[in-house]
Symmetry: C2
Subunit: 168 residues, 2 copies
């Protein structure tokens, strides 16, 4: 394996999303053990004006699939953001992994200089593939995975850094 | 600029550390406005068995400088971890940036296949440069920067995603 835009996206996202799913499994075990009401953990926020736990997981999925798609020049699958339970969220992450696994290194040839146009709600970001990866993709992806972990740690779920790193 | 181990380390860390310092400035303004006792914010933890705010900042610095050093085959500066105040922490981050800026892309030639030996407290990690970057360096670096942000958001400091991303 050598350094490539595929290595920095698909090969980076897939293991982290697998780690995320193992963290979600620990969250499920916590909810079962503590008999926590359905929807409570899914609705947690670190601050009232931050996004909920569910949205953080959905965004980790979105940044992974949408970023890889843009860099590979293909259409990502669209998910409906209708997940209600931890089980649903794990399935969302698994679907994301399965789709990322269909992408090949060859599809990322030239991705570092591909012109990326990213329409946001209030503006459009335009930059080449490499700065897009550095300034947008990796910071956002890791932000949401870490925030999921932080929320669970904050409420006492027994997850540790090794779960986040996947047992390196 | 092209994709390289320098691009994925130095060029990734320096802007994020600059964002971190702007976030620390906002924390200072919050502490001043709310007349928060010295050391309180620096000692915050998201969970009692997580590391403190101060350690999270120090570790963001450590993962940046130590990882870049290992991949470039040079010795990183050693910092004493004696920071007490937000001002100290900002200086620590600035020193880290200044040192990272001395590294050149040429020093990272062949870094993706460089054999990395990383002694930890209880074991030693050994892997080539690219998997080291993917499995250890980037997840750990972003973990600590995001956790600093999460801690500040959690206690009400007015930082937003744009501060984390550096106004992309």
């Amino acid at each position: 394996m050598s350094l490539s835009m595929h290595a920095m996206t698909v090969e980076q996202f897939v293991p982290m999303l697998k780690n995320l799913n193992r963290i979600l499994e620990k969250a499920e075990a916590f909810v079962a053990a503590k008999k926590i009401e359905a929807g409570v953990l899914e609705g947690l926020r670190l601050a009232p004006d931050m996004l909920s736990f569910t949205r953080q997981v959905q965004l980790a999925s979105d940044f992974a699939k949408n970023s890889a798609a843009r860099l590979a020049g293909v259409e990502p699958p669209k998910f409906e953001d209708n997940e209600k339970t931890l089980e649903d969220l794990k399935a969302r992450v698994s679907k994301t992994i399965d789709w990322l696994d269909t992408l090949t290194p060859a599809q990322f040839a030239g991705a570092e200089t591909r012109h990326i146009v990213l329409p946001l709600r209030t503006r459009t970001i335009e930059m080449d593939g490499l700065p897009f990866l550095q300034k947008w993709v990796l910071p956002n992806f890791f932000f949401h995975v870490t925030t999921v972990y932080a929320l669970l740690r904050h409420v006492g779920v027994e997850v540790g850094k090794q779960d986040f790193l996947g047992g390196v």
